[in-house]
């Protein structure tokens, strides 16, 4: 096998216009998960963080409400209750060993952040303040508990800034505005092992190969497969897509969370913290309808339930507005001073984008695509799985792109900021451990070849199709057919469409043929990932013939533990362009880890 010997490519070598770099650890993505890993890895190994955005532009910064940890600063609480809530919230599809780690390590994760400088809101006696959040309860569901540590409604912003600040402090190496487009695998003794990544430098249009012993994926979610979403334009799931194209499995892709309170028509999120602080959902008649669905937790029920209840209200004609197609989030009964202190940003969003004054008027809201529970399967050490049991040596994933699975079929609010900190840290630690003894895997011949082919394919595009048109058709259809309510027919419809779009995608037209800052090119590449991920999502969803958590099948409205208390594992096995999704996607199932909490009916 012909390889470029590692000894030959000193850092900074340029061969055929491709730049070569060597790092012990490469972290792809500079959101919360990536930077948390970097803080762990940076001081112990030669580390690079590659990100398509400046780190502080990552979408972790958009997170608002809080980060859960049973600190018991304001009322009685413990991590075991937190574990229970996480498991129940995820409709028992949660791997309970992982959930236990999440809840246990939450406390340190918060303290770590505080020590790094995060300006949490404080209680009168100077401790970190906590607030209520959906699905978080005391004594196994008795009543809501204050568990979410927060900084106004900008918790994610503060986390992102604090992590970045600490990366600056540690002098972490960032490669900003570098798009990782491929994972390089080399065959060693018959097994494919990761040897590096290939990145496209936005500013120059040049390719960079980063050879490294350990690679951590932390590329965030892919909400842009939907039209109405709280996710950023840049959340196109590149990392998950790259892993998929390598033939590695993706877990539980059918589970996508729809957050109940997006600004109607826009999808911009109004944090659950609003309801944590007392906001109420109302229908057109002004009724607090959540009382009917979940009498104990009411508006603070988990998101899947609230979103579904909202969709039901609208279906049954109790929506507001000319088309009866939205509901209201009402905070008019809260003191303006409280609103200003605790919810300043989201009220500002309502004012800016809808022209609604939340002090006096209820805010129009609608569920919005929010969070991918599924993703790259990992074990609790953040090692990526190549099948149900084996790991890919030297490859790690953390954050929204990963699936540990601590969120099961529905993530609880505030558990994701927790996830990125706990498992980001674990990924960093594992990688450091690994590189202590590992050698560089030699790069294959022409490691950037795959990316060159993709780019050439896209760049040569002088077809007739516009990227935006294809993307919009995909997103519209996903919203119509694969959102809160799904049926076999609706899923079939999107599947068909994706096949057609994929054909049209080959005929796209690119306006920008330049090298520098060619965002036209990148949007095209990103669309490729969106199409792939939408297809896996839909295909996995069709095969899960039950309703659980974020996945609601109208044709199978009940949870079916008999057949489906398992994780979906999807593999790309053939030519993705083949007609039938089933020809190139293979599904497998992975058992759920159950320790203390046998599945029960989920009532709130």
């Amino acid at each position: 096998m012909s390889t470029i010997n590692t000894g030959d490519i000193a850092d900074g070598t340029v061969i055929d216009g491709v730049h070569y770099h060597q790092f012990d650890i490469v972290i792809v993505g500079a959101g919360g998960a990536g930077m948390r890993a970097a803080i762990e890895a940076g001081p112990h190994a030669k580390t690079a963080v590659i990100s398509k955005l400046y780190p502080t532009r990552s979408h972790t910064g958009a997170a608002q409400g809080g980060m859960a940890a049973a600190l018991a600063n304001v009322e009685d609480d413990n991590w075991e209750w937190h574990t229970y809530d996480t498991v129940k919230g995820g409709d028992y599809l949660v791997d309970q060993d992982a959930a236990e780690i999440l809840a246990k390590e939450a406390i340190d994760a918060v303290i770590d952040l505080e020590n790094m400088g995060l300006p949490f809101n404080r209680t009168e006696d100077g401790k970190i303040d906590q607030r209520r959040f959906g699905g978080h309860t005391r004594e196994h569901g008795k009543a809501p508990v204050r568990r979410a540590c927060y900084a106004a409604d900008r918790t994610g912003h503060m986390i992102l800034q604090t992590l970045y600040q600490n990366c600056v402090k540690l002098g972490i190496n960032f490669f900003n505005e570098f798009y990782v487009l491929d994972l390089v695998m080399t065959e060693v003794d018959g097994v494919e092992e990761p040897s590096g990544v290939v990145a496209y430098e936005l500013a120059t249009g040049e390719l960079h190969v980063f050879q490294s012993k350990a690679i951590i994926f932390a590329t965030g979610g892919f909400g842009k497969i939907f039209k109405t979403t709280s996710n950023a334009h840049t959340l196109t799931g590149d990392g998950v897509g790259i892993i998929w194209r390598k033939g590695l499995p993706l877990e539980d892709m059918e589970f996508f969370q729809f957050h109940p309170t997006g600004l109607a028509g826009l999808g911009i999120l109004l944090s659950e913290a609003a309801r944590g602080e007392g906001a109420i959902l109302r229908n057109a008649e002004g009724e607090r309808f959540m009382e009917r669905y979940t009498p104990t937790l009411k508006d603070l029920a988990p998101r899947d339930i609230v979103a579904r209840s909202m969709a039901t209200e609208i279906r049954e004609g109790r929506g507001a507005g000319p088309d009866k197609d939205y509901l209201f989030l009402d905070i008019t009964h809260l003191e303006p001073a409280v609103i200003d202190e605790k919810l300043p940003d989201i009220t500002e969003f309502a004012r800016t984008y809808l022209g609604v004054e939340p002090y006096t008027e209820p805010v129009p809201v609608l569920p919005t695509a929010h969070y991918a529970m599924g993703g790259i399967p990992t074990n609790v050490e953040a090692e990526v799985l190549r099948n149900n049991t084996d790991v890919v040596k030297g490859l790690y994933a953390a954050g929204e792109c990963a699936c540990v699975s601590v969120h099961g079929s529905n993530r609880l609010g505030t558990n994701s900021l927790l996830d990125i900190n706990v498992f980001g840290k674990r990924a960093g630690k594992s990688a450091v451990e690994y590189v202590k003894t590992a050698e560089f895997v030699p790069l294959p011949k022409d490691p950037a070849g795959g990316v060159k082919r993709i780019l050439d394919m896209v760049r040569s595009g002088d077809g007739t199709e516009r990227i935006a048109v294809i993307r919009k058709e995909l997103q519209d259809s996903m919203d119509r057919n694969a959102q809160i309510f799904r049926t076999d027919e609706s899923l079939e419809e999107v599947t068909q469409l994706i096949q057609k779009l994929r054909a049209r995608y080959k005929n796209i037209q690119l306006h920008d043929k330049g090298k520098r800052f060619n965002t036209d090119l990148l949007e095209a590449v990103e669309l490729g990932f969106l199409l792939d991920l939408a297809e896996v999502l839909v295909y996995s969803a069709r095969s899960r013939k039950e309703s659980r958590g974020g996945h609601m099948r109208e044709d199978y409205p009940n949870r079916d533990d008999e057949n489906f208390l398992v994780h979906t594992m999807a593999y790309l096995t053939g030519d993705p362009e083949s007609e039938e999704a089933g020809d190139h996607i293979r599904l497998d199932w992975k058992p759920v880890v159950i320790t203390n909490y046998p599945p029960m009916e989920r009532k709130y």
């Binding site: 502080t56 918060v110 020590n115 400088g117 969003f349 984008y353 990227i467 690119l510």
Partner: protein, 252 residues
């Protein structure tokens, strides 16, 4: 409560009307152009659209080579600071209805940082200044893995400046920064302020010394462009004034 609903007139379920707005964008392609040039685009928009939507429409429907940064689309990531009708703003926070659309909307890159392409400038000098002020908590270890205490009053002291999203709207609106780009700029000072006035921090003096520099706070001429430009509503000039006071007094 139900009154609020009754108030909502069942506005006719007809199509929401659109109108045509003209955007004049200052474009620059480093591969071709010697000088930036202005180019017009007519776009169909809703009044509730933002300038970012207009730019997207142009990019997606008319000219894919139009280049700008953006991500979150709701004023939280700081990617899309640009000069709209002569003022720095975030494109995603500027609603078309708030502009006078009987006139064309001028859009150009922020000023004072090297122009790279269309609306994209080189952000490195900006982040370099930021990094120079030690933008991280400097404090000794805590005992036994505990949180540091901080009262709500102490926390409130620096709340305003924690909101910064590093969008550079302020720094690139500052006439002093335009002159030679050596001035630290308001964003760096804002981020220094965030730590100088944090009761947990022990490195204030270091930062005050850094900002007591030739290119530090004293170059600020209180022109308030930064405060007016800040999309997060941070009282930037006020924060700079507080840092000046702290330097004079020798303590925060």
């Amino acid at each position: 409560m139900s009154t609020a609903v009754a108030d909502k007139k069942p506005a006719a379920a007809e199509e929401i009307p659109t109108f045509t707005a003209t955007l004049i964008i200052r474009r620059f392609d480093p591969d071709v152009d010697e000088e930036p040039r202005w180019e017009d685009f007519d776009v169909e928009l809703y009044a509730t659209d933002r300038v970012l939507d207009a730019l997207h429409k142009i990019k997606w429907e008319q000219d894919g080579s139009l280049t700008f940064r953006r991500s979150c689309a709701h004023g939280i990531c700081g990617s899309d600071a640009m000069r709209i009708n002569g003022r720095n703003r975030l494109a995603c926070k500027t609603l078309i209805k708030d502009l006078d659309i009987t006139k064309p909307i001028y859009v150009e890159a922020i000023k004072g940082l090297p122009l790279e392409k269309d609306l994209i400038v080189d952000m490195e000098p900006f982040f370099d200044s930021y990094k120079e002020i030690n933008p991280f908590l400097m404090a000794g270890a805590t005992k036994g893995g505990k949180e540091r205490k901080q009262s709500p009053v102490e926390r409130a002291r620096f709340d305003d400046t924690t909101k910064c999203i590093l969008c550079a709207a302020c720094t690139s609106s500052c006439p002093v920064f335009w002159t030679d780009g050596q001035y630290f700029g308001p964003a760096a000072i804002v981020n220094a302020h965030r730590f100088i006035f944090d009761s947990r921090d022990e490195g204030s003096q270091v930062r005050l010394d850094i900002l007591n520099d030739k290119e530090g706070v004293w170059r600020c001429r209180t022109t308030f462009n930064c405060t007016d430009a800040c999309p997060r509503g941070i009282q930037v000039t006020q924060a700079i004034a507080e840092v000046k006071q702290a330097i004079i007094k020798g303590k925060p």
